[in-house]
Amino acid sequence: MNDQSLKILKLFGLAIAGIGLLLILLSPFIGESLTPGSLWWIEPVAYIGSGVFVLGSVAAFIGFQVIARRTKALTGDRTRTWSEVTQDYFDTFAHDMGRPLRRILGKQREARALLNETGKVTPHMVAELLDEIENQAPNFRLMIENVRVLVDLEDDTAAPAIDPVDAAAIVRNVSDRYTPIARERGLELVWWSDPIEFGLIYGDGPALDHVITNLVDNAAKFAQGHVEIQLTRTDSDFFVRVWDDGAGIAESHLAHVFDRGWTPELSARSEKQSSGLGLFIAISLTERCGGQLMVESEAANVSGPDGHSTTFTLSLPLDNRPSER
């Protein structure tokens, strides 16, 4: 069917629908004039009118739809992918979820500033409450980001980005984010890169940021005094090593740390402290980017009083660009 006949179909349909509508409206009068004094004729006219209206509407609708679809195809407007649709919903959701938190956090920071200005000694409970509110903010950020990445990982067609990325800047940003939390928990968080001028890598910056964030978040949960982030490189790969001096992971548990939903509390049958998603997401993202994530741990009861620690080592290619040949 060409465009001209489609337009005629559309207009014809509209006209028929209009006649049908007119018939329905006029049925009392037409019917009455046909059989004066009796309402018997009203109904058939109305029925016929409705039928004609529906037929006309359907024709016009088909005309509209086909034309609209053709224009869409011509202008190149493609249907959005499932991932884009979910990400869109997710953005709205994350923004709206964040609203109450932004308000609470804002009030908390204002209260803190006011207390600092007046120089009053804050009761212990109040100070603790303010700290708790402040420190839950990064948790919330990580949680929202984790769910977003989880949705994203479901999309098999999505490929990791390959951009020039300042890996040291990413480690520094994560360190900055977790330094206040570490301080609050009495931990010392340090990082360094070797060499100091680390240079650029080619890879997925947001993914790298997210993997390191999850590793550091995990380390800060279990560390007893120290968390270290170390960035190093060879000629072909770079490594991010996240070390903590926590109690360590028993050998029987090591195989499960990357399982979705696994948390150490699960085995101890106590209240869950975390979602168990962080490390699962970390390893899934790493593998998508063509890298590896490994864990080594020395549990507390194995190697004496102060030998316990856990190390996660992330390794990724320095240059993830496809080769020219």
């Binding site: 308000r103 804002g106 360190s175 900055d176 340090v190 360094w192 947001p206």
Partner: protein
């Protein structure tokens, strides 16, 4: 606790329709305490849309010549203004591609981040993204790095000041600056290196491998240890106190050293 006056009166243009919110007020306050001069874009009128902010922001950019711009993504609750910040960003970069812009956004990932990047990030543009929930300290740290200019002097707490260009370390007492003559040469180089790392980020330590070039002898690690000890003694003498193992310059688990602000 810490006294950092790094900003040096640099102007920061703040473009956010929620600039009156508590969250933004704490950011503005932090900018001021760190020596920046925030300039808030606040168009007037009864029904403000993203366009009003755009016009005013571009005007202020010309008029005020800020050192950096702090820009939100969302303006108002109109769906059409959902990504208004991105189009403002684009116009800013078109006008001045070297203008550092820090964007408040939750789109650190996903298609909108790509939109933002594609829309604005030409090779030379210096644009960074930060979550709106980030602490004011984090915002200022990022902004400082984005602006990129190293300060002429770095303060350690409110007690010491390092002037790298003039190779001098001062002790500050009652507003007076006194030169610490003992700290020169290698010791000053070490202190510079440590202070620069502290300035970049609080948690950054300087690994031994980096510092050992400022020491000599067969056992460079040992001679480095001696230099650090002498440095701490010299700094301590200037303020008539002794800095312990966990003060001022700390050896972190035999990985390297880092500088921390002295406690009072």
């Amino acid at each position: 606790m810490t006294s950092k006056s790094f900003g040096g009166g640099q102007k920061i243009l703040v473009v956010d329709d929620e600039h009156m919110s508590d969250l933004m007020r704490s950011v503005l306050r932090r900018l001021e305490t760190d020596g920046f001069k925030p300039i808030v874009v606040a168009p007037e009128g009864p029904h403000l849309t993203g366009d009003d902010y755009e016009t005013q922001a571009l005007f202020s950019m010309e008029a005020e010549r800020p050192s950096a711009i702090l820009l939100d993504v969302r303006f108002g609750e109109y769906d059409s203004d959902r990504f208004k910040g991105l189009s403002i960003l684009k116009k800013i970069v078109e006008r001045d591609s070297s203008m550092p812009v820090l964007m408040f956004t939750q789109y650190t990932q996903g298609p909108y981040r790509d939109t933002a990047v594609n829309a604005s990030l030409t090779v030379s543009a210096s644009v960074d993204f930060i979550d709106k929930l980030a602490s004011p300290e984090e915002v200022v740290l990022r902004l400082r790095r984005l602006i990129g200019s190293a300060p002429e002097t770095i303060k350690i707490g409110s007690v010491f000041e390092i002037d790298a260009a003039n190779a001098a370390v001062y002790v500050i007492e009652n507003g007076r600056r006194d030169l610490i003559r003992e700290i020169q040469g290698m010791k000053l180089e070490i202190l510079n290196e440590l202070a620069a790392a502290m300035y970049r980020s609080e948690g950054e330590l300087v690994p031994f491998s980096r510092l050992e070039r400022f020491s000599d002898g067969e056992d460079s690690r040992a001679s480095l240890r001696v230099r650090i000890r002498e440095l701490k003694v010299s700094l301590g003498k200037a303020v008539s106190r002794e800095f312990g193992a966990n003060e001022l310059i700390i050896n972190v688990r035999n990985r390297g050293y880092r500088l921390v602000n002295p406690t009072n």
